[in-house]
Symmetry: C2
Subunit: 340 residues, 2 copies
DNA sequence: CTGTTAGCGCGTTCAA
DNA sequence: TTGAACGCGCTAACAG
């Protein structure tokens, strides 16, 4: 566990000191801070004045231990750098703040092993809830969570077998909807580019949604129109060029991952390919930038921030006693713009 | 303080249970987990087996209280959603993880009051260090930090009067360098757009750097060539159009904030303005996207990730006993591309 | 190498 | 409305 840590502060006034300064007992100070209405006005004022004067900062570590409560929520995202997750984290942080809770944040780097390690560390910190942007977990992760009995929110997809609560949208449904949308606009040969479906369930679900749409349309899967690439703008550019080389008459490509679509659009600009004249491009997620590119990008709008907010709220609900596990599908929206 | 929290877990095995199961004392279990080399191999193995079998998750809350150590670092950024800070957070998180430390993350929303509240909450959690992406703080913030005696890193600029440690680059120097660079490339009337300099010290320092460059060049400040706007792509677009309306012969604009430059570039594309023929555009920060736009964007490269990493490392150093406060200026780099 | 004792700073539970 | 005793789960400091 934690090694290179430090003595966490200098002298640091304790509650005892405040009690002495105010001429009351320990408990009175404790109450003044947590249940002010239970004290007479003058006592309360005396205590709070002493707190101010001494500059007392409560020790929530001790409070947690004594009360067996915690005021920290753990959230684990696949990548802090990815602005999509940043939105969700922001939503969570906002709601938690208003409730006086704090956020312990972890980056799993898309690795289930790392997620497991983080879950262990967070449970050791006795978080009062976990928000996982992932629906696959190692057996040990599941075991630890069950044993701890901590409320959990899964997010990022709708799992078939949720651990506890779910706040998300369906990758499958979203990808299917976009594919059908493109077909409805008259595109005949729609390519699909995503991240690695073997290690990334969200990518896999999106690909399944794409296939489901083809089936509904009575079209055949064409392996040449499906590709999986790494993350990043450059990947998107390459994927587009490769696919157009293999299948010259492809007329639309649906990029179901990160910033792939933007990379492709920029590459098309560089090569002077008309979008959507030569090739139509659709993206999965409505990043801010999608409505500023030239042409503006057709995409799906996912409730990123809302997922973070609702997740935190679901946790708060549970803490207030609701037992019914929240299972929310927040849906999505197809945004038609000029790129298709 | 924390209100709507929850009993943090079900039964949850304690160290006592492990001790019983392994037939040893409490301390032996504690040692097996934290100083394995101090135990005989067989004892250690017996204990660790028991830990596995029982599924024991240590209680770091209790450990913290008993040892007066903490394994949590607090980091406060102005905006989690801003990908610049996300990079820094990522750097911090990575280094902390390898050291077994955890990250308590806060979003101050650019407000000193909110920063103060977060600092209070983090100190209550007895964090073993603070990383603040800000060099201005309320008096109460400063007082709390001093009293707590916690190591602090300030980041995001080089403060004249650091609280403790600093890991950053100089906004002033960077802005000056870019302005000089533009002048050296032959631009005569260089505009400057930033965020609000009244509430944002980084913006202020950048503006000062721009003015310093003008002075060094023997050019006059022209108020019409200086503007302050809100954040966002749209702001950048408007700022450019406004400035070009006011000063038709402006030949370059240096956007010293967020994604302003990208918004401007897209607007130029929409209007069919040649970049840099009609107007040259330079950006402050080397977002990934800067090297993919058409034309690619001239910008400053700031050591975002490195700031996060080094900050965490400086904290670790301090915890290992180094008293000398780290004061690092990690510098920057001017990246010349086709937009200027 | 292992165990025992004492207490970290606070909240809970009672009694006053 | 206020206070005293006790213990949360663990580690430090010692003893063996």
């Amino acid at each position: 566990m934690a090694e290179g840590n430090i003595r966490s502060g200098g002298p640091g006034a304790r509650m005892r000191d405040v009690a002495n300064a105010a001429g009351v007992s320990l408990m009175t100070v404790s109450r003044a801070l947590r249940q002010p209405q239970k004290l007479s006005e003058e006592t309360r004022k005396a205590v709070l004045d002493a707190v101010q004067k001494i500059g007392y900062v409560p020790n929530s570590i001790a409070a947690n231990l004594a009360s067996n409560r915690s005021s920290v929520v753990g959230q684990i995202v696949p990548s802090i750098q990815n602005s999509l997750y940043a939105d969700t984290v922001k939503g969570t942080a906002d709601v938690l703040r208003t409730a006086g809770l704090n956020l312990l944040l972890g980056d799993s780097g898309y690795s289930l092993q790392d997620e497991e390690a983080l879950i262990g560390a967070f449970l050791a910190q006795r978080v009062c809830g976990l928000i996982l942007h992932n629906t696959d977990h190692t057996p040990r992760s599941l075991q630890m969570i069950k044993r701890a009995g901590v409320p959990v929110i899964e997010t990022g997809d709708v799992p078939h077998n949720p651990i506890d609560m779910v706040v998300s949208y369906s990758n499958n449904a979203a990808a299917k909807a976009m594919t059908l949308h493109l077909a409805a606009r008259g595109y005949e040969r729609i390519g699909f580019v995503s991240l690695d479906t073997k290690i990334n369930r969200r990518a896999r679900e999106r690909q399944r949604g794409y296939f489901a749409a083809l089936k509904a349309l009575g079209r055949r899967k064409d392996p040449l129109l499906v590709s999986e690439v790494g993350p990043g703008l450059t990947s998107g550019a390459h994927a587009m060029v490769d696919m157009m080389t293999r299948v010259p008459n492809v007329d639309a490509i649906f990029f179901a991952g990160d910033v792939l679509a933007i990379g492709a659009l920029f590459e098309a600009q560089r090569r002077g390919w008309k979008v959507p004249g030569r090739i139509a491009i659709a993206a999965f997620d409505d990043l801010d930038i999608m409505q500023h590119t030239v042409p503006r990008m057709t995409c799906l709008r996912l409730p990123r921030l809302e997922i973070g907010r609702r997740s935190a709220e679901a946790l708060l609900e549970r803490m207030r006693g609701t037992v019914e596990p929240v299972r929310l599908d927040l849906g999505f929206e197809v945004i038609q713009r000029e790129s298709t």
